[in-house]
């Protein structure tokens, strides 16, 4: 390595998941900044989650497939060159020539070029309508073609997938998601021949056929026949021909090793750059990782071993001595909604293995464990139809299972899932190579107290997520062991969780805090449980939040129906439904702000916040607002905040639906709905999404045929995009779905749990919530509808009601013994023509321009 050069140049060729992992690992460990990295990325986008490609068809946008944050690409030591291919490597000069003609010198070069999708040499493979399944562009082209054909044909579009392996079934899932008739054609006698045995293959075939996908095994495709240049029929070695409009080739991948061949690096017999167990080629400056690397005599097409190789090279570049431990080819997938998992010695190839098999065609499951000859040690297994035991079983491979192996195969819920004490060195998350010990350590030494903390700290479960149930159980066990009680208890006064408390209060019809705490708690409550009960009672429609004893439950914001600011003053937000406001309305707000000397700012929710009101001014301010037709905006409550909208089809050249009209209707429907946390909605009038609806708890986006409904989005500390719940709904169906989603959330979420976390934590996730909200799987739809109807009918403006009640107005006095005397502790200075609280330095230096009375700009 050259002396005197402070940073060395690393060039990485190929912008896939493994390349990203390499750069991420290197940058997080190379604190001294010894390597400057350039990534050449042939695709026009940064590395994305190729494993999740099929989700593109269930409404996700290409950006949702992004891996991790943008931070890595903002790192000054990392240069991402998108849409740039490497054309030539000169190993003598140590340079890479790019497709743009640039010559990049390197001290180290990593080949991470991955694979290309193999296309068998059948006649007709180049017709329009023939696709491969590898990149975002592939799936986007497929989708566009299908949509175009659908417009041309007056019958359903028909598709076929050549290849019944993992990728082929993924592709079949894509065709199903596109509402196409589809057939999977596999040359081998069973589906997924590399992962499952005959029994598993048969179970898988039954399950997939039950979903309407036809399966033809032991079938060789001999020809694709075209009609005017487009795919129209497939012919086979034997059996009848098949009329199709689309063919996807998913017969496997081949390493993209041409650059290596061209520069004289050795490649394997069936391709792949030959590397040793350090991922090094024969050239000490060149490494290869991921699918292009031929390691131990084979190329590995899974992301987990690729990640391991990335970590090894990062380690080696920094002087470490990491070696490849051998690949764990375990996989767990959900293909077309069917669970398939295969791990360890799944085919019992090691001599002397015993197989424990449960095959239940009625329940649609096939499960097999391969045990050592004494039936004690787990060697591997196959799970089809129900892979819930995978997370617990996979780390036990090579270890004694303890107990009857069959117990692990019983259906979930039929008994306690036996989770043996995982040894510390057992790998829990194979994507990120996190051991059980590392998870435990994050709790005992890292101070993590929940799943989120452990995920952030160890990265366990942050890639494919299949290990999350196991990680969660480990975290819970470890917390309990450390004496940190993992209970759902709300606080020291209630053993119940918020959701349990909600049910108890609802079912028993309790209406006061005293009743509730006497029956189900102890003590006199606190700042945790009191607002929760105040919120539950409000959600159940028991009347004004300040009525009687309920007033004692409210946080100061709810108590004075305004938002406490840092200096003890409050801000006031009148409701502006959908962000639509008349000039007269604007003038009223402006005049109120002027008369009371308030600082004004437009909020992110398309309304106006007025700051700097003293507690005793709030009724006067609200009298003016209410008299002029405004009502509470509930900016202070854990409740519906706003429904943000774009201008929609009434004005916009591109709008396809009236987004403002719907936003106003939704805001008026859900205004005042108290909930576990704040709720924000958004409505966009077309797919351009100007209302940023997918950043909301409930986002509605107009389509030509109606509305798409997204749920579980938020901004804030952990931004989330909302996920598609249902498509092309008419307005009535949409509103009913939102009613049920919100009411289900209100009833079952934890305290201060926003919808994103609620959806994630919910047993069964989004799918399960969809079945409750759309298909009424729990049979509570009518009940949820009635609850929402009760809310809508029972709505009253809290501020108008308070202004009409002298008893409620009494609490707005500044001092109990001088209700009209202004607090003299406020101090303001002017900035950009408006008041703001004085800083402590400004207070002591006495440069104030206004005291308590806020006589600014008069």
């Amino acid at each position: 390595m050259p002396q005197g050069s402070p940073t060395q140049q690393l060039v990485v060729i190929g912008g896939g998941m493994v390349a990203r992992r390499l750069i991420d690992a290197l940058r997080s460990r190379d604190e001294a900044g010894t390597w400057e990295v350039t990534l050449l990325c042939e695709e026009p986008r940064a590395p994305y989650d190729r494993v999740a490609l099929t989700s593109y068809f269930t409404g996700r946008h290409p950006e949702d497939l992004a891996l991790g944050g943008q931070d890595l690409w903002d790192d000054p030591l990392v240069t991402l060159r998108r849409g740039v291919r490497a054309d030539r490597i000169d190993r003598d000069a140590r340079t890479v020539t790019t497709s743009g003609g640039a010559v990049l010198p390197y001290d180290a070069l990593v080949l991470a070029t991955g694979s290309y999708a193999a296309v068998p040499p059948v006649p007709g493979k180049d017709l329009r309508g023939a696709f491969v399944y590898r990149t975002i562009d592939d799936v986007a082209d497929l989708r566009a073609f299908v949509e175009k054909r659908r417009g041309e044909l007056d019958r359903p579009v028909r598709g076929a997938v050549v290849g019944g392996g993992l990728l082929g079934l993924e592709a079949a899932g894509a065709l199903t998601a596109l509402d196409m008739e589809s057939t999977v054609v596999e040359f081998a006698p069973r589906l997924m021949p590399l992962q499952v045995d005959d029994g598993g293959g048969a179970a898988l075939k039954r399950l997939i056929e039950a979903l309407g996908v036809r399966v033809r095994t032991s079938t060789a495709t001999s020809k694709i026949v075209g009609d005017r240049g487009a795919v129209s029929r497939m012919e086979f070695g034997e059996g009848p021909a098949l009329d199709v409009d689309v063919v996807i080739f998913a017969v496997g991948v081949r390493p993209r090793d041409e650059l290596a061949r061209d520069c004289g690096l050795e490649v394997g017999e069936r391709g792949g750059v030959l590397v040793d167990d350090a991922c090094a080629t024969a050239d000490p400056a060149v490494w290869a990782i991921g699918e292009v690397a031929n390691i131990g005599g084979r190329c590995l097409g899974l992301v987990a071993p690729g990640y391991t190789m990335a970590e090894i090279v990062a380690d080696r570049l920094l002087g470490g001595a990491g070696t490849f431990p051998g690949a764990d080819l375990s996989t767990k997938l959900k293909l077309l909604g069917v669970d398939v998992a295969s791990f360890g010695d799944a085919f019992a190839q090691e001599p002397g293995g015993l197989e424990v098999v449960i095959s239940d065609p009625v329940a649609g499951v096939y499960k097999k464990l391969v045990m050592s000859d004494d039936a004690r040690t787990l060697r591997g297994g196959i799970l089809v139809g129900d892979a819930s035991a995978y997370a617990a079983l996979r780390p036990m491979v090579g270890r004694e299972l303890g107990g009857d192996p069959a117990a692990y195969l019983l259906p979930e819920g039929s008994g306690p899932a036996p989770v043996g004490d995982l040894p510390d060195d057992a790998t829990v998350c194979s994507c990120n190579n996190v051991s059980a010990g590392a998870v435990r350590c994050a709790v005992t030494e890292g101070g993590c107290t929940d799943l989120g903390g452990v995920k952030a700290c160890t990265r366990a479960g942050t890639s494919c997520g299949s290990c999350l149930p196991l990680v969660k159980r480990l975290v819970t066990t470890e917390l309990e062991r450390s004496g940190i009680e993992v209970s759902n208890a709300l606080c020291e006064h209630f053993e119940l969780s918020r959701a349990q408390l909600f049910d108890v209060v609802r079912v028993q019809g309790l209406t006061t805090f005293s009743e509730i705490i006497a029956a189900h708690g102890r003590g006199r409550g606190c700042d945790i449980c009191k607002p929760v009960i105040g919120s539950i009672l409000a959600s159940l429609g028991t009347g004004h939040i300040l009525e009687g004893e309920r007033a004692t439950l409210q946080d100061t914001n709810d108590h004075v129906m305004a938002n406490l600011q840092k200096d003890g003053s409050y801000s006031v937000v009148p409701r502006i439904p959908g962000g639509e406001i008349t000039p007269e309305g604007l003038i009223v707000i402006g005049e109120v702000a002027k008369d009371f000397g308030l600082y004004t700012k437009i909020t992110g929710g398309q309304r106006i916040d007025l700051f700097g009101a003293r507690i005793e001014q709030l009724p006067q301010i609200w009298k003016r607002l209410v008299d002029n037709g405004f009502e509470s905006g509930h900016a202070y409550g854990k409740s519906l905040r706003t429904v943000k909208s774009c201008v929609g089809s009434t004005w916009c050249r591109y709008g396809v639906q009236d987004s403002v009209g719907l936003a106003i209707a939704l805001e008026l429907r859900y205004r005042g709905l108290r909930s576990p946390h704040k709720i924000k909605l958004g409505v966009s009038g077309c797919a351009r999404e100007c209302a940023e609806a997918r950043g909301k708890d409930v986002g509605v986006i107009a389509t030509d045929n109606g509305w798409n409904l997204y749920v579980g989005g938020n901004g804030g500390f952990t931004p989330r995009h909302a996920q598609l719940l249902a498509e092309d709904l008419d307005t009535e169906t949409l509103v009913r779905a939102i009613d049920r989603f919100l009411m289900f959330y209100v009833r079952t979420a934890d305290r201060l749990q926003r919808t994103a976390a609620w959806v994630e934590d919910h047993e069964g996730g989004l799918e399960s919530i969809r079945s409750v909200v759309i298909d009424d799987s729990l049979g509570i739809g009518a009940d949820l509808d009635a609850a929402m109807a009760g809310h809508v009918d029972g709505y009253e403006d809290e501020w108008a009601a308070a202004l009409a009640d002298p008893e409620k107005l009494r609490r707005f006095g500044s001092f109990v013994n001088a209700p009209d005397r202004a607090d003299d502790s406020f101090a303001y200075v002017a900035e950009r023509g408006q008041p703001r609280p004085a800083t402590p330095e400004e207070r002591t230096s006495g440069v104030l321009i206004a005291g308590t009375t806020l006589e600014v700009r008069r």
């Binding site: 004893e549 004692t552 840092k566 109990v816 001088a818």
Partner: protein, 128 residues
Amino acid sequence: MTVDVVTEEPGLALPGWVAVCRVGDLSPERGAAALVGGEQLALFRTHTDDVYAVQQLDPFSGAHVMSRGIVGSRGDAPTVASPMYKQVFDLRTGECLDPAGREPQPLRTWATDVRDGVVHVSRHEVAA
């Protein structure tokens, strides 16, 4: 500003004590701000009708807001939680029971006495 605002109740005010308000002016399990000897205090009435007086200044935020916190209990201790950053204090002693991740700071406290339905607050704070 140093102004005493006293609800004059002749014959009730004792030397060293200020009559502040009627106990009925205070809502159970809520606080109220009061001006006593020119100082802002926070008065609290518990559900057992005990009355406590602490400083209105929240030592953690520097804002005069303690009376607007939620009243509750921790074990046997009657408490108030700061409405600003949620530190919890023992109303009897002003001791900070939960500093919410900050360096604990106590509240100053004043003795109170309810006589004939009138809340009296000592002119002298309880020595820490």
